[in-house]
């Protein structure tokens, strides 16, 4: 359980976090979403104890992060993968995991077993004796995640775990995150929406150091603009068709680019049948008609773009 209250972080005159209050429950897989520079990394760095907050309260497992006495205890409860997965390039994979494990206080007689376990869990068996500097990005990311899991922490924090990976690697890492999220709290940050949508049970959108949305991916989609879009293509465009479409009840706006027409409608109303009828009546051949609900992406752009204006 992590409790954050009115957290503020300022760098000189720049406010990276402007009063964030949040709660993470045990076992949640939470995605922190936001444009670059929104304050995601700052928030995570405060949680892992790499940065001190300017103001506000943070409690991890009931322990106040401001108390120096508790610092080491809190740190050992967390596994952390920093952005870009920084690793000691000159070490071997197994050697590095052993090092982090020992530092995290894994008992000496358990360390070998633990390293073996984590290597197989993270799909690193082939590379366990490879020098980290020679690994591909996908493998580096796995080593970074393995390193965060080596001491079996209750909380795992991953800063942009899939950045810079190709689609196949991304799917692999995503599956790995789902797997580790089964029995612990996972907080990850990303600016890739599909990522968060497919791995997280809860999404927090953060922009300019403030939380602008918080809920399940489905909930957030519902809070969208309240609009649906119909895309249509016709073979010939009759002059009065656009006008006639605009007069349909529930239609907000109609735009066209050549023979492609985009119709914005109210969310609850499905006017496809009516539109098809009018189009065919006008003498045009209907080639394509599809209706799209607002996606999480639209919500994201909406929330973060408006704030930027």
């Amino acid at each position: 359980m992590i409790k954050i209250e009115n957290l503020v972080k300022k760098y000189d005159s720049f406010t990276a976090l402007g009063g964030v209050s949040l709660e993470f429950k045990d076992g949640e897989v939470v995605g922190l979403l936001g444009p670059n520079g929104a304050g995601k990394t700052t928030l995570l760095r405060i949680l892992v104890g790499f940065m001190k907050p300017t103001d506000g309260e943070v409690e991890i497992e009931g322990m106040d992060i401001k108390k120096p006495m508790l610092e080491q205890k809190i740190k050992s409860k967390i596994g952390y993968l920093p952005e870009l997965a920084p690793l000691y390039e000159d070490m071997l994979v197994s050697e590095y995991l052993e090092f982090v494990g020992k530092m995290q206080g894994v008992a000496p007689d358990e360390i070998d077993k633990r390293v073996k376990e984590i290597i197989s869990k993270c799909g690193l068996a082939e590379k366990k004796n490879a020098e980290i500097g020679t690994l591909s990005k996908g493998y580096r990311q796995r080593v970074g995640i393995a390193q965060a899991l080596i001491h079996n922490p209750k909380i795992v924090i991953l800063d942009e775990p899939t950045t810079g990976l190709d689609p196949n690697q991304r799917i692999e890492i995503r599956d790995l995150i789902k797997e580790i999220g089964k029995d612990r709290t996972v907080i990850l940050s990303s600016h890739i929406l599909s990522e968060v949508q497919s791995t997280c049970s809860r999404v927090i959108i953060i922009n300019k150091g403030k939380i602008v949305a918080d809920g399940s991916p489905e909930d957030l989609e519902k809070t969208g603009k309240g609009a649906a879009v119909i895309n249509m293509e016709v073979d010939t465009l009759e002059s009065n068709l656009i006008e006639r479409l605009r007069s349909v009840a529930g239609v907000d706006s109609v735009k066209n680019e050549g023979n492609k027409i985009m119709i914005e409608t109210e969310k609850e109303k499905d006017v496809r049948a009516e539109i098809a009828e009018i189009t065919v009546e006008s003498g045009a051949g209907l080639l394509m008609l599809e209706r799209k609900q607002t996606s999480l992406e639209d919500v994201f752009i909406n929330l973060t773009h408006n704030e930027n204006e």
């Binding site: 610092e71 080491q72 740190k75 952390y80 920093p82 920084p86 000691y88 530092m103 390193q147």
Partner: protein
């Protein structure tokens, strides 16, 4: 305590895993061996005086090369974020890096033991002076290392760390030189001589191990390690 040892071991391994460790080691052995042999064959004296009297200068180039990457490279590559989020106090991380560099220096010095062994075989050197020389070099080296580590923690580039460490150590070294102090008032001479890394070393070289000199070196080490821990704690990098 255990964590300091684990980290120090890792750091020491990385000296021996990198070409830099071997280059620095070879340069040290060649330079110090050459300096010794030169005067040895000219004066034919079973003494290591020339060897130890050049140590402050040789180490000004060697030790900054050992410490330059300690923090600067961690910051550049971002691994400092991994290191400092492990359950470890900043001062423990600083001490681990100090001990590993100190151990590396000790290894370098042990590799020069062939010189005193040879002297004992062929002549009758003053063993006390040789012992004091090695001990003094360790104390002097510890001071250099702590300065080098601190400089490495305030910059982000290894080369900058190397040059800046060299400058700072050299500054500490020459404040005691008579060339600089001759024209100054007595108080400045007193302060300069007492602050200087070289004055304290010279008295040890003569075979006089005074508490004052040892306390001086230990204070320098503690002072710079403290500055180092503070610089690491401030985390003024992003």
């Amino acid at each position: 305590m255990n964590r300091i040892a684990i980290l120090a071991k890792k750091e020491l391994n990385s000296y021996f895993n990198s070409p830099l460790g071997y280059i620095v080691g070879s340069v040290f052995l060649v330079a110090s061996g050459w300096i010794f042999m030169q005067s040895f064959f000219i004066y034919e004296l079973a003494s290591m005086r020339s060897f130890f009297s050049m140590m402050p200068i040789i180490l000004i180039f060697i030790l900054p090369a050992v410490t330059m990457s300690s923090w600067a490279e961690e910051k550049r590559s971002g691994t400092v974020e991994v290191l400092l989020t492990l359950p470890l106090e900043n001062i423990q991380a600083v001490l681990a890096k100090f001990f590993s560099a100190f151990a590396f220096l000790s290894v370098l010095l042990i590799m020069t033991f062939f010189i005193p062994l040879m002297l004992i075989k062929i002549g009758e050197p003053d063993r006390g002076v040789i012992f004091a020389g090695y001990l003094g070099t360790l104390f002097l080296g510890a001071a250099y290392i702590s300065i080098g580590l601190w400089v490495s923690s305030i910059v982000k580039n290894q080369i900058t760390a190397f040059i800046l460490s060299l400058v700072v150590i050299f500054g500490f070294y020459i404040v005691g030189s008579s060339m600089l102090l001759d024209s100054l008032p007595p108080l400045a001479v007193y302060v300069g001589e007492n602050l200087s890394l070289s004055t304290h070393f010279n008295s040890i070289l003569r075979g006089v191990l005074s508490l004052k000199d040892l306390i001086y070196y230990i204070s320098v080490v503690i002072f710079f390690l403290f500055l180092n821990a503070r610089a690491v704690g401030e985390k003024n990098w992003r």
